[in-house]
Amino acid sequence: MNQTIVSYLSQYEFYDVLLNLFGNNQGLLAFAIYLIVALVVVGFCATVGGLGTYAERKISADLQARMGPNRVGPYGLLQFLADGVKMLTKEDIMPYTADKFLFYLAPLLALVGVFATLAVLPWSSGFMMADLNVGVFYLIAISSLVGLAVFLGGYASNSKWSMLGGMRGASQIISYEIPVTLSVLAITLLAGGMSFGTILSHQEGTIVNWFIFHNPFAFIAFFVYGIGAMAETNRAPFDLPEAESELVSGYHTEYTGLRFGFFALAEYIEVFVVCGVGTALFLGGGNLPFNISIDIIPTQFAQVVIFVTKTCLLYYVVIWARWTLPRLRVDQLMSVCWKYLTPIAIFNLVGCAIWLVMFNGKSLADLVFGSH
């Protein structure tokens, strides 16, 4: 049942050719395939993270009726490569009063925390790297490492601004993890399992079978998840910990050069991962809204393309929200989380449970159209 890329590829005949190439050692071949796929996924996500910065400037530019970056490469597309090279050649300064060991460790924790979530992202029903049957839960757990990295980054650089930013950032990330976990819990209720394979297989068919339209509570849970996810990646109206005007870019004030680059890369990839999880959980990642049989291009690649377009749509909404909504104060930030989001998330969870028991598992569409 757990469909990973290795088990998917093993249906083809070139797999057996490869097998005896590797002296039919099953583990080694799986390791090689996973290594290649991991490098491809990491390269893709790094470019998407880089393009995220480019898209952010371009979209914010045309929201404010000005031209974004267009010098480097056609339409400024290679802007993020230029930023990368600039990061590499900047001097790497560490404040003399800083705590050397933690200052060095914080970006590594952030990077490991974000890259480990890529293992579970469901690109398509066949191309999942690791279809663990604790999939979604593992993703939430590993992304809590980033909150720790934010705190350690803020603490280690021993400047009042970054210390305050680190404390606020860590408390914001951990407090917004509760609404996200509760809305993901509502989806595990509906899907009857935590692995992305079961969640996706429950959303096949037309747009009506997506979990967002399963019942009104799941619909609200999508928005609770969206707001919580935006706050968890320090984006949009919740980016107080790194607010330029107040905390002089918060916890990574003292980080220069490539260390700051790692923090920024981890942040942008995490926004992409969070949007990807949003599409997989609520919008049936990889499943077309209308079921026409596309046999011209193999279904797996079509599903990957559909998954990536849906994620980029959500990414666009996140960037759009950043440049239209004002920034929240600290106490508003915390009261929104604890007094509005968490009660609504618990209400959704209870609602989903009652809905499942009352209509024993049938979605709104099944009741209305009366199918299966």
Partner: protein
Amino acid sequence: MFIELLFLTSALLTVGSAIGAAVTRNIMHSCVFLLGSLLGIAGLYATLGADFVAVSQIMVYVGGVVILMLFAVMLTGGKDFVSRAQNLLGLAPAMGNKWTYTIGLLTALVVVLTNVKLITNVVKAYPAKVIGNDFPSTVNQIGHLLVKEHVLAFELSSVLLLGALVGAAIIARPRRQG
């Protein structure tokens, strides 16, 4: 073969950072070393086939307890946390004089001897089967166990969490300097 590799790295990570947590004098470093050993223990759970327990260990300990400890260290006078106690051959901060250590060594010897005797019986009784009884997916079985046999414990744990929440909230509430 991959499993032995994973077992070795997580065992080394666990034991190494546990000893690191004991040896470093800066409390923040020992918190980060505790984090390392907790991640190692999660890896050990993974090699034991307990995938749900490994992930809940990461979620609760790494995402919660360690951050809470770092907050507590910051809230209780971040100033003086390099412990200045005299230390034992420059390694672990020492406590007590040479008598305590001799008695400590004697008890340690007794404890280790009994444990070794115990473990030898266990080793003889259960030889290292490579993959013994493997469970297809632990999450569903844990769910069934929680709902059927351990229902009382499941409900009581919510009462326990409520008690912990209310108690800690009362204790940590800012009051007039009492």
